[in-house]
Amino acid sequence: MVLDMHASASTGENKKYQKEYCEHHTECLKKIQAVLDGEASEAEKEHFRENMDDCLHCIKMYHLEKCVKEALQAKVDKRLCPDNLIATIKSKLNIIS
């Protein structure tokens, strides 16, 4: 599950003090990555939700991680297997399509 934290990061309602720096940023970053990968445990998701309310640093890390992941998915060219290689493999194995 990927949680949308844009709302908590951008709304002015119920505005409260947000930390500029996270003293646990390495561990928080690992949890953020697990959330974005859809691999976070319930405890990690809960920690993530709580942090997104009061840690500006974690919010920024979340947006950067999400952006880099999306760039890898959408922007990096995907090479297609050449047709002649497919034909060669099938020919060597006597595969009938």
Binding site: H25, T26, V68, L72, L93, I95
Partner: protein, 209 residues
């Protein structure tokens, strides 16, 4: 193709039991379960070798091995992960030695650096802007990805480009899930460093978010 040597990685995943398929069944498995993944396999091979001819050879070798050892594949299971594991092991055994990669010494040096407590506390977020990454074109992101040592590049390709789960990656790479997570973490930090250096060299503003 290679004879599996004692110091080499065993290329074909061991099956709990082997299945005897007739020729028609082999043909069917190959067409229905193996061939749908050939573009992903080629893309993975190209990103590993960074060379079209080597990628061609690697994909061909992998599919020939997969067919030869098809009895080790259980029909209806995860063919993509099975094939990716064979390809990755073939790459390690046959191609890595002669690829244009940074040497293994370089990789170990990087992993040591990123394993250290000191490096773990480095903040990788304050000098790369979301907008900078959004402005980059695909070739720029690919260049940064290609510049990573192959073991780090591999986990990013498997997770972010091919969408494998941590559990699948653990099986493909033959490492524990905890190692998958930590290697991914280090790989992403390294990738952000590369993106930041590249962005600076191209005149992007990297001073703040």
């Amino acid at each position: 193709m290679s004879v599996i040597m004692s110091e080499e990685i065993e290329e074909i995943p061991l099956a709990s039991s082997e299945t005897s398929y007739n020729d028609a069944e082999k043909n069917d498995i190959f067409n229905r379960e193996f061939m749908p993944h050939i573009n992903s396999m080629y893309n993975f091979a190209f990103r590993l070798t960074m060379d079209e001819d080597d990628a061609n050879d690697l994909v061909q070798d992998t599919y020939l091995k997969a067919f030869r050892f098809i009895s080790s594949f259980e029909r209806g299971t995860n063919a993509k992960a099975w094939l990716f594991r064979i390809l990755k092991n073939s790459f390690i055994n046959d191609y890595r030695k002669r690829s244009k990669e940074p040497s293994k010494v370089d990789y170990q040096e990087v992993e040591t650096t990123y394993n250290s407590e000191e490096a773990a506390e480095v903040d990788h977020t304050t000098d790369l802007r979301v907008e900078t990454v959004q402005d980059m074109i695909g070739d720029e992101v690919a260049t940064a990805l290609n510049s990573l040592p192959v073991d780090f590049r591999t986990v990013i390709i498997l997770c972010d480009i091919e969408g494998f789960t941590y559990e699948e990656m653990a099986k493909i790479l033959d490492i524990p899930i905890g190692t998958v997570r930590s290697r991914l973490h280090r790989a992403r930090n390294l990738l952000k460093d590369k993106l930041k250096v590249y962005a600076s060299s191209m005149g992007y503003n990297t001073d703040e978010y």
